[in-house]
Subunit: 336 residues, 2 copies
DNA sequence: GGTCTCCTTGCACGTTTGTGCACGCGAGTT
DNA sequence: AACTCGCGTGCACAAACGTGCAAGGAGACC
């Protein structure tokens, strides 16, 4: 050991410089020189298990990045088809058809989290919706250090019983930590009871500041809600909407929502009363973001996905293989 | 399985499309979704061992790329020091000091081969020297598909006993294969016996064409020779030079060579008679390449390396830790 | 100074992965 | 048709790896 154990002013406190140095060195030896962990342990004067942990750390903290390049002549047929048909850059996550919905979501979220680093960079304003898909993604993010980026919450998270702020802040915090970004919370319920309250709130200066941020996002990240699918999105599970609301949605021909804003199969969202009480950004606002990434898992969400595409909300899609296949399959109905 | 097992017009014959598709899928599942090989075997309806081999193939053929990012605030002190002192971008390969020279070369070559993909791209003219270092590198290249690139041999390879063409072509072929590039051989001995022969040869149209290519390289790749070090470079081992030649080099104060062209500690190469018979490009020509990558392993080559730096031949250096450390150490003498 | 807590380390074990070998299939040859 | 050669496959074993656990060490707080 020749280096001194000096501390470093790392962005995330906790991690001493020595550890990062060792992890880096271990990663070089392991991934660039194909040494075994045993050999590396000898070089670093530590135990093999520590090297194993060091390498885990190196992967989890983004020191090591593993990327997969398709040969240009062999891009996934599905991705190509989606690109051609919908003008959307798709990332299809291979998942066997018989996988459970939970598995599927997990696997898509894991892949999504790892792909995300490519989209998010310094000096960017990143909008993140609140929902079960985003929550799953947030648990697997690979850190990437950026400067001067901000994470902006797109829609409220409270429901009738809890303020939801804890969950939402946890989710947002994970994004903020992963990218070294400042976090802008939006402490409102998912839906207001009374449109008037929303309007009042929207006149508050703190709210205006946030809405202004939402209006100039560089990247928006969201899932889609699927009100009538077997596996309901979080928005439809616990106390966010009442029986009457559902009836109204049904009557309006709603097929899904993005960040609490509902839309029909043709992508239209005008004249849906519930949207007067929603807290997410109007689609016109959302569409100002040059890059709009949607993560979708499960064929049950296909109608919602089709609607979101029709609404022109999506520029980049991350989804599982089954859903992707169904999306390009003409025979699959686009309405439920 | 829904896709058909159709063949593909791959650039390298041999590899069927199905294999690449499977490898790609396996890589996704393994590296993006953290499945075990067992689980992947089940999804691909094959055995675990095949998956292991599939993944090896995916790594070796560049489908999977593993890169290591230092946090910007923690670049290797050595790399930083070299950058500041010599205006060279350095890649330091960690190798323990007690490693043997053979180990050292192997490990540097392995790392170098894996870094190389970052430098070589489509539509480039890449010059490659012939020597033991380049030979070691060539054995570990990771393929990367490029279009319209060419590999150009920088110096001849024959000696008194063999034409060396076989070895040289093998080395060049590996580079060509790895990058899908055309290969321009240079079928001459390393040194001519008589300067007049060289001059005559240099007037040949086929030679002129090659020299013209050498004059507009995008990337040059070479090691350094070290005539008086304990472990002599290939150029000094078998039958390339005679006793008188060595004496002459010594008298001229030569400290090393790049692609058969000799230089002194101060980087000068004029007035060295042997260079009249050398087949490598004049340094003035070599320096026209915007990127000049030098791979050096072993402190014995330090004086040669210093000379090459003094001659301004190097823009990017790949070397082992010990050599890098010695390079920035003021106390290490720069002449042998 | 004590002690409490949290973090790190190495060990031991079970799991996961790499690889030599033998088998089997298909193409090309005689 | 028989043969051979090359290649891909799975098996079985050995090597390499991940992780729960208990012990040790460094603060932090009393």
């Amino acid at each position: 050991m020749t280096w001194t154990p000096q501390d470093d002013p790392d962005r995330s406190p906790e991690v001493p410089a020595g550890k990062t140095r060792d992890a880096l060195r271990a990663a070089h030896l392991y991934y660039m020189q194909d040494l075994t962990m045993d050999a590396i342990a000898a070089e670093l004067h530590t135990s093999r298990s520590s090297v194993s942990r060091l390498l885990s750390h190196a992967r989890a903290s983004g020191l090591v990045e593993i990327s997969i390049h398709s040969p240009l002549d062999l891009p996934s047929r599905l991705e190509q088809a989606i690109r051609e048909r919908h003008e959307i850059a798709a990332h299809v996550v291979p998942v066997p058809d018989q996988a459970s919905d939970v598995d599927r979501l997990d696997r898509v979220a894991l892949s999504a989290a790892r792909i995300l680093g490519r989209f998010i960079d310094s000096n960017q304003l990143v909008g993140v919706a609140w929902g079960s898909t985003m929550s799953a993604v947030s648990r697997h993010l690979v850190p990437k250090s950026t400067h001067n980026s901000e994470i902006v919450q797109l829609n409220g998270a409270g429901n009738l019983r809890t303020t939801g702020i804890l969950y939402a802040s946890e989710l947002l915090r994970r994004f903020g930590d992963a990218f070294g970004a400042k976090v802008q919370q939006f402490p409102v319920p998912a839906f207001f009871d009374d449109p008037a309250t929303k309007e009042a709130f929207w006149r508050e200066r703190s709210t205006k500041r946030l809405l202004e941020l939402q209006g100039r996002l560089d990247v928006a990240l969201f899932g889609v809600g699927s009100p009538f699918a077997e596996v309901a999105s979080r928005v439809y599970q616990g106390g966010y909407l009442e029986r009457d609301d559902y009836a109204a949605l049904s009557a309006d021909g709603v097929v899904g929502d993005v960040a609490t804003v509902f839309y029909r199969a043709d992508g239209s969202s005008d004249g849906i009363p519930l949207n007067e009480r929603a807290t997410g950004p109007d689609f016109g606002v959302l569409r100002r973001a040059p890059r709009r990434i949607c993560v979708v898992s499960g064929r049950a969400k296909l109608p919602s996905l089709r609607g979101a595409i029709a609404a022109g909300l999506i520029t980049d899609l991350i989804t599982d293989e089954g859903t992707a296949r169904a999306l390009v399959d003409e025979r699959t109905p686009s309405a439920p």
